[in-house]
Symmetry: C2
Subunit: 616 residues, 2 copies
């Protein structure tokens, strides 16, 4: 049987592919998760991929329907319809991936001029002699400033400590990394000139190794935030840190250690050394930002909820215990407020918030959902306590997006179709699956617009004191159901989606505009990228704006972090964004409570002055 | 019996003094070492003290002879002639002290305008509210910059970590320490505003706790450099560090730990907290400077002997492991060359080298002796490898200046008189004692000008293969002599004194001037302050310049460090001094070898073009 080698990007896995198996089958054979809602029938388009190189079969009729001619020319295909005819390379966009720990390490690639604050210079230094007894640092700085017309006069103390023997062993030729007027790293010539961008999420950490000389991302990894072991959500971690200072220190250390390990793994993948990482940028929400720096968090958790620091910071990596070049700085983008952090600023930077079309909404859905309304005049942000339901918490059979989680659901009169991560036997429901179930049940009339579950459907039954819908299993009380979706789950999801819709609504109303005027809705982050926007509109979580105005952009915070790593100008821009972004305390907004109650209803509706106006 | 309390400064010891005992007897009774060459007869003037307060007996005829009216008015007295009539306080100048481990913590007090680079500001910050959610740091910086018209925009990360809870516990009132545009420390209001000056010697460490608000020295301590355990001299320590990087780290750590402990002790004495020390200045020779910073030293020890760094440095205390305020900086004065370090710069600063009369020689005698010639045009320095003989090493019965060491000697036809430290039974000879013995024996003709010991004296005998002079003991071969001074000792001391005289000579000749034109000779440091200058001239170690041109100024390096602590302008001045001080590599100077041989001769002589010209 004819067999070819296929590289799957961006995960960087290679597998052998038989001539008679589709790309989808090949990927699953090698445990590379690609979505497949329709089961490989060419109908759902959830398995779309981009063939970057190699011979493949011609497009089928389903693909001609799914893609424009231009898209087909660019290599876009459905993995279930495509057969390999030679060695090749395939790119999987985030929305097609269903890997375990779906951590998005690719996102909106912003165009950025590569002009990092740390510059690398090749240098040959004259050796000392009895007639030239200048100190090693003096001779290096003299040569550096003369050759590159700089005014460098500071030297990191750790770099100082290794300078003399290294210069001699390198025969006085070296690579000097200069940040403003300070030498922060020294390497043999040539060395790599690398940066590390970290998106530090409450649950997940994404890390990118970036080549500072050309802007390329050399490797990208994801990891679970180890602070999970100290509390699933931010509040419980903050409480830990408040109760015991040692716990606070521990919370700082475990996350830094994980980042250090990630840096080492990224470097191993790129064949580099962690000492070649001469700058890092870290973004996270305000609480993660504070815990990462070892800052106190008590004042964040108590009214009036103020951060210890909000401006951008440059901290020596060693002062945080981070294992990269000893003299490197970690740059932290500014926070906006106690609950709108540097990760949101990074996201706004990535979507070019200073330049977007008038009236754009940008949101990053998570346990805490930050939403900004960008107009041609200003940016206003709110923070919505959407809770952990979308992460699978507080849902009876909820789970994180890992193997066996139901992530896509279609319920029709004919029956139920679902897709699990890794195509494993279903063991629970993750956030995007729950959103789908709720929308589908609402559209079928099994749930009414107040969220109440009807009894008429054959798969609805009473269990204990509450109604539940049997998603997987027999449905009669005799069998053993595998996965159910309960009335209580609906209530949890209603709280979550109502918080988000309320945030959007408060932003729109306080800016005196209407939903129709929103020309673009940018949804960032892992969960936001996997959700079915139609489902989100169907349950009233998002306003009924035409679908073509939505953009699901993946990990924009990570992209923003990379942009800030690569460009001093982008850092300036992030400061401008942060200082020009107003913050509305949601609970204090006029009509907040009424809006929140109204927004808990399901269905497609506009809102005006805190009232629903049904459409369709 | 009438008894009074007497405070002895600067050692800070208090003792009870009986009406019928002299101040000298009282001091010795309390183990406070005051010199007493003549045995309390009012003849030698070596016990001079200054009565700062309290009733004392009137001056005796010996004192009227010893002091001018003005001096008597200022409280200067001979301790052996003075009796206490009430509680009082007495200051012992360095030259009168004979304490164990004579470490000088007082020195030439330079006049300096108190304008330290770290300023303390009282501040009341407005508390946050739901309508003012600025970050804690922002509200502090806003208030600080507005109230004091500053442009402070940096915050030490460790200060950041404690800011939020402390501001709240202090009810938003605090003391902010600002260094340039950075907040380096935070305290409750009012806190002390303290600095630490350290003179880091090869053998001894002197530390001063200084009040940065008024310039007062609050406490001063001395300690043995613990690196002694890793080698008595610099070269053996450098070799340790070269052979094993761990040893280098250890050498750094032990000295930093000793300084931290000294800081804690000084604070305890002054009733302060180490967190109130917001700045430190450290001076030492280039090797000590490097070992203190953890810099490599191999290139210092090998031709062409270059330092890793020579410019002034500001390093965070925590990067060195020093236990003072976590955000404080340690300022290191610049080095001049591989063997002329920041301690010499501090000494030049203290003697106001930029302003002294034309043609001054300033020297600090030690294992390595740095000498500068200051003219109205420039400063030139040399480093003389004088060796450890003056520290008591390589001398058969040599010892450091500690209890039982013979430190003053007078040999006449009538016999031998000597003084030991603490008046303890003699067990050896320290540097100043050895210098005296050599001078006295030369003046008596027991040693000729080539350094050869004559056989004619009854106390000279042959022991094994070499001649020796029996200083303490019977002198005939039947008895058991206690302390001897050998032909070999003379040779060691000749090497040492020849190195110093050669250095002085090379400086004078290379500047085209003569010994007669030297208007001032400043001798700094512990050993230099205790020596008898006449003895030093008698053996040809110092040129035959009139005695009234010599000044023995004590620990000028420590004083320079304190000046740099108190004044940004003095730091600028130290940079100017370092950059304007030329360095002559002694071994490369024209006629070096001939000069060295000539300078090994004993006697009072001028030198011209490397030749002796006997005088008297």
């Amino acid at each position: 049987m004819e067999v070819h080698e296929v590289d799957f990007e961006p995960v960087g896995r290679r597998g052998q592919c038989r001539k008679d198996e589709s790309l989808l089958a090949c990927a699953h054979h090698h445990f590379i998760g690609i979505n497949s809602v329709c089961g490989g029938q060419g109908k759902c388009r959830s398995c779309k991929v981009q063939v970057l190189s190699g011979d493949v079969s011609g497009p089928t009729s389903s693909e001609r329907e799914a893609f424009s001619t231009q898209e087909l020319e660019n290599g876009w295909r459905l993995a279930c319809q495509t057969y390999i005819a030679g060695d090749g390379k395939v790119n999987m966009p985030p929305e097609s991936m269903s890997a375990v720990q779906r951590i998005q390490v690719e996102g909106l690639e912003g165009k950025v001029e590569v002009q990092p604050p740390v510059q690398a210079h090749e240098l040959t230094v004259s050796a000392p002699s009895m007639t030239d007894q200048r100190a090693d640092i003096d001779r290096l700085l003299d040569a550096l400033n003369a050759q590159y017309n700089l005014h460098c006069d500071r030297f990191d103390v750790d770099v100082m400590r290794s300078l003399s023997p290294r210069l001699r062993s390198w025969k006085w030729r070296c690579q000097v990394s200069v940040r403003r007027n300070e030498v922060v790293a020294l390497g043999s010539w040539p060395s790599r000139h690398l940066g590390l961008a970290i998106d530090l999420g409450t649950t997940k950490i994404a890390g990118y190794l970036v080549d500072l000389s050309d802007g390329r991302t050399l490797a990208a990894h994801g990891a679970t935030n180890p602070q999970i072991g100290y509390g699933d959500d931010i509040i419980s971690r903050i409480n830990r840190a408040i109760r015991s200072p040692e716990k606070g220190v521990k919370l700082q250390r475990v996350v830094v250690d994980t980042i250090s390990k990630m840096a080492a793994d990224l470097c191993a993948e790129a064949g580099a050394d962690t000492d070649e990482i001469v700058e890092a940028v870290v973004v996270g929400n305000t609480a993660m930002h504070h815990l990462f720096l070892g800052l106190p968090v008590k004042q964040l958790a108590l009214s009036p909820y103020v951060p210890a620091v909000s401006g951008a910071l440059d901290v020596k990596a060693r002062d945080l215990g981070m294992q990269i070049a000893p003299g490197a700085y970690v740059h932290l983008l500014p926070n906006i407020a106690g609950f709108v952090g540097a990760d949101h600023v990074a996201m706004l930077l990535a979507v070019d918030a200073g330049q977007v079309d008038a009236s754009t909404i940008a949101l990053d859905i998570g346990t805490n959902t930050e939403v900004s309304l960008i107009t041609d005049r200003n940016i206003t942000s709110v923070s919505c306590a959407s809770g952990p339901a979308f992460e699978g918490y507080h849902i009876i059979q909820g789970m994180r997006a890992s193997s066996g989680a139901i992530e896509r659901v279609e319920i029709t009169a004919d029956g139920i179709r679902y897709q699990t991560i890794d195509n494993a036997p279903p063991i629970g429901i993750c956030g995007s699956g729950a959103l789908d179930v709720m929308a589908q049940l609402y559209l079928l009339g099994v749930i009414d617009d107040s969220g109440r579950m009807m009894k008429e459907h054959p798969r609805v039954r009473l269990w204990g004191k509450q109604q539940e819908f049997v998603l997987v299993g027999d449905g009669d009380n005799s069998g053993e159901p595998s996965v159910v979706f309960t009335q209580g789950d609906i209530r949890e999801l209603q709280l979550a989606k109502s918080a988000i819709r309320t945030g959007i609504q408060v932003l729109i109303e306080s800016n005196g505009c209407s939903e129709d005027e929103i020309s673009q809705v940018i949804i960032a982050g892992a969960f936001g990228t996997y959700i079915d926007v139609s489902s989100a509109i169907a349950i009233g979580m998002l306003p009924p704006i035409p679908l073509d105005r939505f953009r699901q952009v993946g990990n924009a915070a990570g992209t923003g972090a990379r942009m800030a790593l690569l460009s001093g100008r982008k850092r300036d821009e992030s400061n401008t964004i942060a200082s020009h972004t107003g913050y509305i305390e949601l609970a204090g907004a006029p009509g907040f409570k009424r809006t929140f109650v109204e927004a808990s209803y399901l269905g497609r509706y506009r809102m005006r002055n805190g009232k629903r106006e049904a459409i369709d």
